[in-house]
Amino acid sequence: MNAILTMPEMAVTALALGLLVLDLWTPADRKGDLGIAAIGGLALILAGSFLFGAGAPQYAFGGMYVLDGMALFFKRLMLGVGVVALAAALEYSKRFAAGTAEYCALILLAVSGMMWAASANHWALLFVSVELMTVTFYVLVSFERTRMPSLEAGVKYLILGALASAFLVYGVALVFGGTGTLGFAGDSGPGLGTGSVLVRVGLALVLAGLGFKIGMVPCQFWAPDVYQGAPAPTAALLAAGSKAAGFALLLRVLLEAAPDWALEMRPVLMLIAGASILYGNLCAIPQRNLKRLLGYSSIAHAGYMLLGIVVLERAGAAAILFYLAGYACAVLAAFLVAALAFDPGEPEEIPALAGLHRRSPYLAAALALSMISLAGIPPLVGFFGKFLLLKGVVLAAFDSRSFGWLAGVALAGIVTSFYYYFGVVRAIYWSAPAAERPPIAVSRVAGAALGACLVGIVAAGVFPSPLLEAARLAAGALRIP
């Protein structure tokens, strides 16, 4: 037993539970300190995660759990996302009647679910970690029990999430029926035997289940509705964390467990990638709601990242890892601003951002930077991510014409996305505000979290080398047969 490897997950879980317990003794006016404690704890765990070196893969629980470079990369990413999400939650939870600690604890649990997912090397752990996230998110999404959109989003996430889980688990059952094992690796070395129909069908159902997490076509419908209805910190965590966990699992399943099947499915995956890019970007054009817009854009970004999967190479995986980190920075910043710039109960309409540059130049610049990074304009991190992804596709296009089409679709999608991202920038900087509104005070915690995101956006864009090396190292750990 190498249970020591699971220390980070355990610590996060313990932190969540400790938070819930401490909450019982904390007076109402000191609840905020709990959140700060949670942030501090999570940051400590993040720092502690660097004690683990990314050496050869280490296994725990009889191979169910693997700690390799990729798992470590994802864990650090998720811990970072968790810190920022907690900061957002702390800011946002001022508008809740009660439940700051619970909200923070749930976030911590979701983060721990994601971290488990990053290390899953077994269908059971995959399922459990996914469900840990999903069930937590049911609550997180509908946390504003008195706000109808939050509840509606919660119900939608509940039904569709459960449906996706059902697909996932049924797929797992079929794969088990076909291979007789629940590990990702077959009996004879890495990779599952994927000859039988059961396994192939089962994997397709798993793909659908995981596709729900990342929000790809045709499992994308929930994303805009839920992003719009959920509290902003939840949506941030959904976009940055849950999607990352989905990709971690997808990479494990498609590249490690079933590379043959993935190769067979490549045309479909390409179709899905292209469709996601187009769907997300086209539907986002007429959006007026900032969070809904980010929901659609998350579909498009899932499509971009699938480009890294369809090339079925380590370089593509590295591109996805890099992209996820950059996407997390940008989208967290965007949701943080969405949490701060709007009044409680006010729908997050983009026109209401008019005059933001005067109300808070910092928030304005942050949102603009995050939009520009999402649009993929240099020198921000979003560009370099897209650069890496497109690099893979262009290389493949030399051999296969269909990749040329995919590159064209991606290009069209990216250019289309400029339209709505810059629409947000326009709203911030030069739309005429309907009424003069007071300046926004940004708390120190939120400001620092936002600053961290911005530093990430700019620094990883201008000096991409360290992050890129980390991503390459992590992708190098993938055991592609």
Binding site: L390, R426, S465
Partner: protein, 517 residues
């Protein structure tokens, strides 16, 4: 540290410093921007002066810092004869644009931060010798342009214009990105370094079929960025709506990026792909020259007219490039430098005119030469330069383009010459006639000339640059010509006519490419 690195770092450092400065002290921002761009101008002039003409084909002031070693990306700057003039022109235009920014009265801090960012992008694009940075630096200017047009732009269409230029240029740069990536793969995925790539392409040319697939991407990408017909409609619209400094910097310096890219990247790296497209490019160039020239004739507003004229001028450069001869390419590069100054001058003047009259509708203007003698004279000179009058920088460039492209394509050259000499004169002089000549309407009796010598300075400098280049093109041509000859060598499918006929001894004693190798 290379002088070029200093030039590039200056605006970025200033940007960082100014970002922390309180936004109330408005004068501070303009003063710093002007100061920084002036220092750049001085440094670039120094570089141009120290440039070793005898080695104009090789890169000088080189600095190389590994940036992303795993992808073969490094921060690599340097100039050869082709780019040294462009860098100098870009600093001059930047300085002029910074000087013209006094018209900005709101959100001064933001404006100058964006201007510095754009300035860094422009200079970096011309100084970079790494494909990646070459691309990145150009893109640096995309967002500032969008914001500047949107926030400080003029006219009811500014929002549309801001979006149009951003989307259009975004499209162009995405196509370009695909093309650059394809070049990266052609060369074996080892490096983005232009110098190494070019050496590789020279020694072992890439497979022809691949080249033919890649070149259209590059042509389309660079073409959109340089307003190649029919992808030009963003330019007049955006320049008409942009605040003066932005229009000056964008039309003057930034738009040359696409053309520079064709010369620096597309032609040397994929010459076999390029050759087949040259005749297409020549006819598209006529689309710029003739079609956009004719459109310019019909414009009712001065800034739109200048915008279309600027698009039309791109035609010379495309024609020169399409000629595939050393002469034509040299001419194209000279026009690039000259047009940079000319565009900045024209937009700067029309911007000042707008400040005075609040309209640029030609039918409402008239007789302004009387109340504004300095501005009027400068505008007359700009318009004369625009129609290719000798003595201004455009003339030697256009002449070289004609000489270069006549032997391979007499018909296209003849049409181009007609467009340049006749159509160009019609729109340029018609603008003078309507805006400056004729009776002076009562409304503009009190229009204020550029009375302050400091405000005249940028225009005086630009005019001096234009006239200097027009009268003494030798120094620039000597710098460009070896690089141009190196670009043209793999392209020349048929021997130039000069080779058929014994040349005067003077021309034979200086075979440009071998001598400098």
């Amino acid at each position: 540290m290379s002088i070029l690195t200093v030039i590039l770092l200056l605006p970025l450092l200033a940007l960082a410093a100014l970002a922390a400065w309180p936004s109330r002290q408005r004068v501070m921002f303009q003063a710093v921007t002007i100061g920084i761009t002036f220092v750049e101008l001085v440094l670039a002039s120094l570089a141009a002066w120290q440039f070793d003409v005898s080695a104009a084909q090789s890169f000088q002031f080189v600095q190389k810092v590994p940036w992303i070693p795993s992808l073969g990306i490094s921060f690599h700057v340097g100039v050869d004869g082709l780019s040294v003039g462009l860098v100098w022109m870009a600093t001059l235009v930047s300085f002029a644009a910074a000087c013209a920014s006094w018209e900005i009265r709101e959100r001064v801090k933001t404006f100058h931060l964006l201007l510095l960012l754009m300035n860094a992008g422009v200079l970096g694009a011309f100084a970079s010798l790494d494909l990646f940075f070459f691309y990145i630096f150009h893109e640096l200017a995309l967002v500032p342009t969008f914001l500047m047009i949107g926030i400080w732009g003029r006219g009811g269409q500014r929002s549309y214009a801001a979006f149009k230029i951003t989307l259009y240029l975004g499209l162009g740069s995405m196509v370009l990105l695909l093309g650059l990536l394809a070049v990266f793969f052609l060369a074996g995925q080892t490096t983005f370094d232009m110098v190494e790539l070019a050496a590789q392409a020279r020694q072992s040319p890439f497979p022809v079929a691949r080249q033919q697939a890649v070149f259209p991407l590059l042509l389309l990408g660079f073409g959109i960025l340089a307003s190649l017909w029919p992808f030009h409609t963003w330019a007049p619209l955006a320049y008409g709506a942009a605040p003066t400094p932005t229009a000056m910097l964008h039309a003057g310096a930034l738009k040359k990026f696409g053309l520079y890219g064709l010369l620096r990247v597309a032609l040397p790296l994929v010459p076999d792909g390029a050759r087949d497209w040259m005749s297409v490019l020549a006819w598209l160039a006529l689309g710029n020259l003739l079609f956009c020239g004719l459109v310019a004739v019909r414009q009712k507003e001065l800034d739109r007219l200048i915008g279309y004229s600027s698009v039309a001028h791109m035609g010379f450069i495309f024609l020169g490039i399409a000629s595939g001869t050393a002469l034509g390419i040299t001419g194209a590069a000279v026009v690039m430098v000259a047009h940079g100054m000319l565009a900045a001058l024209s937009f700067g003047l029309s911007g000042h005119l707008y400040q005075q009259t609040r309209t640029l509708e030609l039918d409402r203007l008239g007789g302004l030469l009387r109340p504004m003698p300095f501005l009027g004279t400068a505008l007359v000179m700009a318009m004369l330069a625009a129609c290719g009058v000798p003595g201004f920088g455009n003339f030697p460039g256009e002449l070289l383009v004609f000489f270069g492209s006549w032997p391979p394509r007499p018909a296209a050259t003849a049409i181009a010459a007609a467009a340049a000499l006749v159509v160009g004169a019609v729109y340029a002089l018609r603008a003078v006639r309507k805006a400056l000549h004729g009776p002076l309407p009562d409304a503009w009796q009190a229009a204020d000339d550029l009375s302050n010598p400091w405000r005249r300075l940028p225009f005086v400098l630009l005019l001096a640059g234009l006239i200097g280049l027009g009268c003494f093109p030798g120094p620039l041509v000597d710098r460009i010509q070896p690089a141009a000859a190196a670009i043209a060598r793999p392209l020349e499918s048929a021997p130039a006519p000069a080779a058929l006929i014994p040349l005067p001894a003077a021309a034979l004693t200086r075979p440009p490419e071998e001598a400098s190798r």
